[in-house]
Symmetry: C2
Subunit: 244 residues, 2 copies
């Protein structure tokens, strides 16, 4: 196992940071690394808003469901899918701009690939990171706060900073439950869930000194038995995205 | 600049590979690294189909628009957004399964974060990679070929293998054109396009010995002036995804 793979495989989200701002050259190294991720046909359909303003960070922390580490970190990056840049480029040549579910996927994936490079770059500098999907609790307010124009939407945030905790690594699904050979196997998925339920039952039990006796599939059922963030589609439409 | 950041910043897509299959331990190191990427609320809503079967690779190469490197590489991974696993887990507890645009984003992002870790892990092993969005040219056929069930869709492929070429690194948008400070700046985006157009004009000119005199925004306009892959939305619906 080389040092890079060791770094990737020792990832855990950090939810408590020291009160040390990210330095300019750190931010630049991180975002320049993000930019070097692949992009669909080189469209680079994303933008990053680096939020250092303490008031804006406080607001974002509240909107994300009172996650204090959104306000207290070295820097908070908001990754946005961005078709606005492509529309401007297209309009400059007097052409109409067409978008649909495909361009929505392209922009969302471009942003995610860039973000993961940012996360890896940050961790290579000894920093910790935590993705914040919680900003999709209130995407309208987040968009207004960050002055996002039409055709830009905030996908997730990324807290970056000097770690002030040492969490353990969370086990993942067994490899066989998600890596298929030449064809998808429903059976492998089912065995994977079963094995992972045992692993996570033990993990929760140990972490909570026996107080939490649940497993992964129970948590999934609790999450998906009711609609989650049903406001996303209307929000996206309001932001000018077409999903047809 | 540390070795990890150097690796990230020296990425370029490889489109010609030596005829050397990926070894089992390489594949495992790559996919185990992929798994350690962050996942929204630990739902791990993705699957990977590793395609080694030469006939299937040939078919995928044709479907992706006759990209020969999809057939000729060390291994071809297909990254899929996977809500099927979550639905099975939810059904096991007798609960109804709710999905919408939010869960579509979660699954797409989870898969992309994992893929980028896979790409970085592969490159750390001296291998080259190339993302293949072209499998979305014919997502129905790809899904049938890989026996993807309902609630699973193929987002992109990833060619992995021993490089048999040394392409140059493609310039990216200027940092200021995509990194915003506390608020999105349309002006910065416009200046970014302008500067990048000059960069890419020069890049294309040099790469084609003066034969190609275009720039980035012209390429974007040519791409987006007509609908791209308008079949994606009906395909997703047929595959059981809801985008409401």
């Amino acid at each position: 196992m080389n040092a890079v793979i060791q770094l990737l495989q020792s990832h855990r989200s950090i939810r408590k940071f020291k009160d040390i701002p990210l330095r300019k050259e750190q931010l630049e190294a991180i975002v320049t690394s993000a930019q070097m991720a692949s992009s669909s046909s080189n469209v680079q359909a994303y933008s990053i808003v680096a939020v250092s303003d303490p008031d804006k960070k406080q607001t974002l922390a509240r909107l994300a469901g009172n996650q204090t580490y959104v306000a207290h970190n070295g820097m908070f990056l908001v990754f946005c899918a961005d078709l606005n840049r492509l529309q401007i480029a297209t309009a400059q040549h007097g052409e109409p701009f067409h978008q649909n579910a495909e361009s929505f996927i392209v922009a969302t994936v471009d942003a995610a690939l860039a973000a993961q490079n940012a996360a890896v770059a940050a961790e290579s500098l000894g920093l910790g990171v935590c993705y914040i999907g919680g900003i999709r609790n209130a995407p309208d307010e987040v968009s207004r706060l960050l002055e996002l124009p039409q055709l830009v939407y905030p996908i997730f945030g990324l807290c970056i900073g000097v770690p002030d905790q040492e969490p353990t690594i969370r086990p993942r699904l067994p490899l066989a439950g998600l890596l298929h050979e030449n064809a998808y196997s429903d059976e492998a998925v089912r065995s994977g869930i079963e094995a992972y339920d045992r692993t996570m039952h033990e993990y929760y039990k140990v972490r909570t000194q026996g107080r939490t006796l649940t497993n992964w599939s129970r948590g999934i059922a609790d999450k998906y038995r009711k609609p989650v963030r049903a406001h996303i589609r209307p929000f996206l439409e309001g932001q000018g995205f077409r999903l047809d």
